[in-house]
């Protein structure tokens, strides 16, 4: 029964979001049926639809996992956006600086740089909370802006190819490229940027599952999230858990850089993130903070993102920004879940500042 409910509420929230979205489309004078047909229908064609949908899902799985792990530990990481920028830059930096190394060394080093940079950037609000009690929400928001300014500065002043009008770094070494799945899957052309990072995303889901539910570390993270004082009474160091949880969360967000830099653009491209960090919040909430749910929710948002393109092109009045509206509505309906529970009290999950 509980399991059924876990499935039912997200489903209801998505349906409500789509219903309100349909009203918006009606209001501006277009056809919701046609819009949704374009939005949902273009993701399943082979190879472009499926290839791009999985490619779009990759960063969302990473950021969804990042937010989910933090929420399991009782922390709200609104900073995945900043963490993934810092991480992507670190990945590119290693790929540019150590360009003499062979692939066998360079690829793991680039990955590690991104993961470590994401973890370190996320550990800052963790340490600030553990040490000074300042709330991670405000600090992660502030660090998002600082991250964007910092990598913008580094790109503009230090790592841009001279004369390049675009805010992007020099290309990384070819030895740091990870393979596109088109090289292995027959019928999938190599122009589709779906790459090995997608497999890494699936692997990360499994690892997060094992970490959270099969190890002592994960048990302590979840115990801290559910009842910090009880966990502390049981001998868990809350301060350590806060920093650890944030670092794991940031490491996961940082893996977005592997997909972006090593598998797609082969350089750092300023402002590349299409709100991945914030969509990750929607993904985690809709996926009930569970790795399997995260995959499902990331796929849904990837389908919408892919569908935004034909909506832009083939409807009279609706633009692809309808996807943002649907995302926002999903977040609001999932957050207001108490709406759907008759006679039940809300979870009261308000975060303290």
């Amino acid at each position: 029964m509980t399991r059924l409910r876990e499935l039912l509420f997200p489903l209801i929230a998505v349906l409500c979001a789509f219903a309100v979205g349909a009203l918006v489309v009606l209001f501006i004078g277009d056809s919701p049926i046609e819009t949704y047909r374009l939005l949902l229908g273009s993701a399943f064609s082979w190879p472009d639809g499926i290839g791009y949908t999985l490619f779009f899902a990759t960063p969302l799985i990473f950021t969804g996992l990042a937010v989910a792990v933090a929420l399991r530990g009782g922390l709200l990481n609104i900073g995945a956006e900043g963490q993934l920028y810092i991480a992507a830059f670190a990945t590119a930096w290693v790929g540019i600086t150590l360009s003499n190394l062979p692939s066998a060394l360079l690829i793991p080093l680039c990955c590690l740089a991104g993961i470590a940079a994401g973890a370190a950037w996320a550990a800052i609000p963790g340490i600030l909370k553990a040490r000074f009690g300042s709330h991670e929400v405000i600090n992660t928001i502030m660090l998002n802006f600082i991250a964007v300014a910092l990598v913008g500065y580094l790109t503009q002043y230090h790592y841009r190819t001279a004369g390049d009008p675009i805010m992007e770094s020099a290309p990384i070494s070819a030895a740091a490229h990870i393979p596109r799945l088109g090289q292995f899957v027959p019928g999938l052309p190599a122009r589709i940027p779906l790459n090995a990072a997608f497999l890494l995303a699936l692997l990360s889901c499994w690892l997060v599952y094992v970490l959270l539910w099969k190890t002592k570390w994960g048990y302590e993270i979840r115990a801290t999230g559910q009842n910090p004082s009880a966990a502390e009474y049981g001998g868990v160091s809350i301060r350590k858990e806060i920093v650890l949880t944030m670092a794991i969360s940031g490491a996961l967000a940082g893996m977005v850089g592997i997909n972006e830099v090593m598998g797609y653009r082969y350089r750092y491209y300023d402002g590349f993130s299409d709100n991945y960090g914030f969509t990750g919040i929607a993904v985690a909430l809709l996926g009930r903070n569970h790795p399997v749910g995260v995959i499902a929710a990331a796929l849904l948002f990837a389908v919408l993102q892919r569908g935004g393109v034909p909506v832009d092109a083939f409807t009279q009045l609706v633009s692809k920004d309808i996807v943002l509206i649907l995302q926002a509505l999903v977040i609001l309906f999932v957050a207001a879940e108490a709406m759907f529970r008759r006679g039940r009290r809300g979870q009261g999950a308000g975060g303290r500042i």
Partner: protein
Amino acid sequence: MRSILTLSLLFSTIRLATPLVWAAIGGLYSERSGVINIALEGLMLAGAFTAAATTYYTHSPWAGLGSAMLAAAFFAFLLAIVCIRFKANEVVAGTGINILFLGLPAVLSGALFLSSGSTPQLPKDELLPEVAQLSVVSLLALLLVFVTQYVLYRTPFGLRLRSVGENPEAADAAGIRVNRLRYTGVVLSGVLAGIGGAYLSIGQSSLFTRNMTAGRGFIALAALIFGKWRPIQTMLACLLFGFADALTIQMQGVAKLPSGEDVPVQFIQMIPYVVTIVVLAGFIGHSRAPGALGVPYDKES
């Protein structure tokens, strides 16, 4: 020459601080009542878009301003329902509102004006009027701060609002209707953030552009924290952040480092955010949030 530069810097500081003051004081009403308002950014965008679109159709900036207040109040009310009635996580719900207003103005302007996210340019005489080179909205912002100071500390409403934010159980026991005051606080934050947004689109510039707030809602939030949730300090924080912004604009291509390179604007842009983190950590005087901020009030528990 030097004095002209300084005077223009002062004016541009005030201009740039104006939307921050409106949004931050708006946030103050919400947060003092105990509801976190991460949605200031989205509410400002709601106001900015509505103001520009309404002014375009009615040719009256006052109608634009009024409709901006109404629209932002409406969405703040929605936020309040989600947070108070359904006890949603306030940060998550606020994030939802922010994402909504990345999308909604773009979709509406696509349909209304066949553009990709902006409204048509308005003629100069349809913008909010100026007095002595400053928009009336800037002058009213100053008034707002002192009115807020008075309301918060000298009126029964202000006392109740603060008590609901500090200790809702005690307020409830004293016969104050906790959630009604919280609805009022959040809706007020919408009205004021909406004015701040309207100032951006029909005061400072003459059209709405996609995501034109560019993080100002969050800077306003930062100013509110830096100002320790008090009106006058919050205004001073807004002025400081406005000054940093004005300096960035004036320094572009002018000031040089001793090495002869441009001063990277990114470091000046970071100031408000770094300051907030430092203040929140208690390095420069501790900034304490209202006691019950972010805790939904449940009579039964």
